[in-house]
């Protein structure tokens, strides 16, 4: 009888429908049709000399950007919602990429330069057989499992010890940064068995399909788009759940969360591990599309860029970081052609300006600053 006036969100009906507002679902539907139907048709069905034709360049660029958008979304879950800034998310992205890369390297078969059973870089090092950790990577589903398990396990173990020791704030950020840097140095070594500083490249096929064929590339594009749309809904489901409210509560007043009977360790560990897994999947989608993975993906700068996309787009909004990743990377691809040497200055300036004038990022701008703090 106590009225429904104070009840926050509509909760009647299936949980799924209530994830987005009616307007939200319409926009979501439009985005899905554009990415999954219109764009592929414009690329595959419209003749190359037509003005409407979408070129290979755009397919690769937008495919890549959607991978980055997934990473930004993962970053938003841990940073925007839970208040834990990771400066090592590039590592999870790269690990997912390497796991997929191992499968792609083995799919090259005898078509490498040396026409050997082994990848070229192993022949070059005079290795006679695969190291043990390459076992079974010629099976796609095993490699796909590694894409999830390797970043997931690493994040779980690292997170368990870091969160249990109550490492927070800038200390946590610095440790994640050190972790990705140390991993980069490890992967640079030829002896590590992942191709040293050249990494993996010259892929020929994926699941038997030629990797450079327009149809294969478009299939990868559509899968990436589906993943992005799916992760958006997953993220929305999490942040609108009670667990999502606990996460933001941890961000705002962790002691109160503890004294309310929640153990923040497990909540942080859950979202941190999930975020790492999502990054790993993004990395695995990225590698076949751009055709290369090397240790520079683990460089600290890359991880910092992820944080910038998220901040530019608007922390704690899910759709914001997706827009942020797209805006910054479109800007980057134009800038690095027009004024290559000034890109980092522009990026730094953008970060400063957004922090000063748009604390809620692009998403805040779109919402007309209704929710100003």
């Amino acid at each position: 009888m106590m009225g429904t006036a104070f009840v926050p969100a509509a909760t009647g009906g299936p949980r799924f429908i209530g994830l987005l507002s009616a307007g939200g679902w319409s926009l979501y539907g439009v985005a899905a049709v554009l990415v999954l139907v219109v764009f592929p048709l414009l690329h595959l069905a419209v003749p190359a000399d037509s003005a409407l034709h979408v070129s290979d360049y755009w397919v690769t660029l937008l495919g890549k950007i959607m991978c980055y958008a997934i990473v930004a979304l993962a970053m938003d879950l841990i940073w925007g919602y839970t208040g834990i800034l990771s400066l090592g998310h590039g590592l999870f992205f790269a690990l997912g990429g390497y796991a997929m890369g191992m499968y792609l390297m083995r799919s090259i078969g005898h078509d490498g330069v040396y026409q050997s059973d082994l990848p070229d870089f192993m022949v070059f090092l005079d290795w006679k057989k695969y190291p043990w950790y390459w076992s079974f990577t010629d099976h796609f589903w095993y490699a796909a499992a590694l894409v999830v398990l390797v970043p997931g396990l690493l994040a779980f173990l690292f997170g368990f010890f870091a969160f249990r020791s109550r490492i927070k704030g800038v200390y946590f950020s610095i440790i994640t940064q050190a972790l990705t840097y140390a991993s980069m140095l490890l992967f640079f070594r030829n002896d590590t068995g992942f191709g040293g500083n050249n990494g993996f490249t010259d892929f020929k096929r994926i699941l038997g399909f030629p990797i450079t064929a327009p149809e294969t590339r478009m299939a990868l594009f559509v899968i990436t788009g589906t993943a992005l749309l799916g992760f958006l809904l997953l993220g929305r489901w999490i942040v609108t759940s009670k667990l999502g409210r606990v996460l933001t509560a941890i961000r705002d007043a962790e002691t109160r969360v503890m004294f309310s009977g929640y153990n923040p360790l497990y909540f942080k560990l859950f979202i941190w591990t999930l975020s790492a897994i999502i990054c790993g999947i993004a990395g695995a989608l990225y590698v076949p599309q751009v055709g290369i993975i090397n240790p520079s993906e683990m460089s600290p700068g890359n991880s910092i860029e992820i944080a910038i996309w998220t901040a530019v787009g608007g922390r704690g909004t899910l759709v914001g970081p997706v827009l942020g990743a797209a805006a910054v990377n479109l800007g980057k691809s134009w800038f690095t052609k027009a004024f290559p040497e000034y890109w980092l200055f522009a990026l730094g300036l953008l970060f400063v300006l957004v922090t000063l004038f748009l604390p809620r990022g692009l998403a805040g701008l779109l919402r007309g600053r209704r929710k100003a703090p």
Binding site: F6, L243, R245, M258
Partner: protein, 273 residues
């Protein structure tokens, strides 16, 4: 936990007349909190020095003492935030508080309101209560949790108790200081604790709010056990049944308000300024 033994005794009114549902807490010997010989030092400063204190189930106990007497440290020990260097702390007969973490102790039935009101400022008042509400607070159940009608009713009732029904949808950060105090009290109530620790619960409240708080706490005593730390002596005089005076980390005196006011030592260190 000794449920079998505990259950029998639930049916007997405890000698004080208080009936506390000791779900999980064994209060068969009347006491709900036992602190024995607790010492805590920070960098050589003895915040608590051989502190011993017993609180009975259903009691409303006021703890007073000058600044630095160790009141907040005592609450830190009870809630698992600080580990004592020596001594034992028991919740009921069986729960050794020095062995559990803050969330475990909260789950066992001890709620705490901080000196500085600590609420989730970005969440609405309603959501603050929802998060505090007694529930399975592990990760997976929290992810699946949905509010049912009885839960909504409970939140609504608490909102009424703490006079925040009209503010339910507002972000807690926009409340006045006194309202935040009330919200935090409401959150502690939503946890359905057996023991409530309230650290300066009326600081920053208007006279009217203070009066209503006094009524609320008195009405809660018996159903819950309350330990109230306060500086406001008028407030203590209004609600106190038993008063414990802390000084330099240990108990200086204990008794009714009149006994305390007549105790010369107490007058010297605290009241007689």
């Amino acid at each position: 936990m000794s449920n079998a033994a505990g259950r029998e005794h639930w049916d007997d009114p405890v000698a004080t007349g208080a009936r506390v549902l000791g779900e999980g807490v064994d209060i068969t010997h009347r006491g709900i909190l036992y602190l024995d010989g607790i010492s805590v030092s920070f960098d050589g400063f003895k915040a608590l020095n051989n502190l011993s204190l017993v609180v009975d189930a259903g009691e409303l106990r006021c703890v007073i003492g000058p600044n630095g007497a160790g009141k907040t440290t005592m609450m830190d020990v009870i809630t698992g935030k600080t580990r004592p260097d020596a001594g034992s702390a028991f919740f009921g007969q069986t729960i050794d508080l020095t062995r559990f973490t803050e969330p475990e102790i909260a789950g066992a039935g001890i709620g705490r309101k901080f000196q500085k009101p600590t609420v989730f400022e970005q969440h609405s008042v309603f959501e603050n209560l929802e998060l505090a509400m007694k529930a399975d607070k592990r990760v997976a159940p929290t992810l699946r949790a949905r509010l049912d009608e009885p839960a909504r009713e409970r939140i609504a009732n608490t909102l009424e108790t703490i006079k925040l029904l009209p503010e339910a949808a507002r972000p807690a950060g926009l409340l006045s200081h006194g309202q935040k105090q009330w919200l935090e009290i409401g959150m502690v109530l939503m946890q359905e604790p057996q023991l409530l620790l309230l650290d300066e619960p009326v600081a920053g409240m208007t006279d009217d709010e203070t009066l209503r708080s006094a009524e609320l706490f008195v009405s809660l005593a018996g159903r819950y056990t309350l330990i109230v730390v306060e500086h406001d002596m008028d407030f203590v005089a209004r609600i106190a049944q038993r008063v414990t005076v802390l000084h330099e980390g240990s108990v200086l005196a204990e008794g009714s308000m009149e006994q305390i006011q007549q105790n010369e030592q107490v007058v010297e260190v605290f009241l007689g300024r």
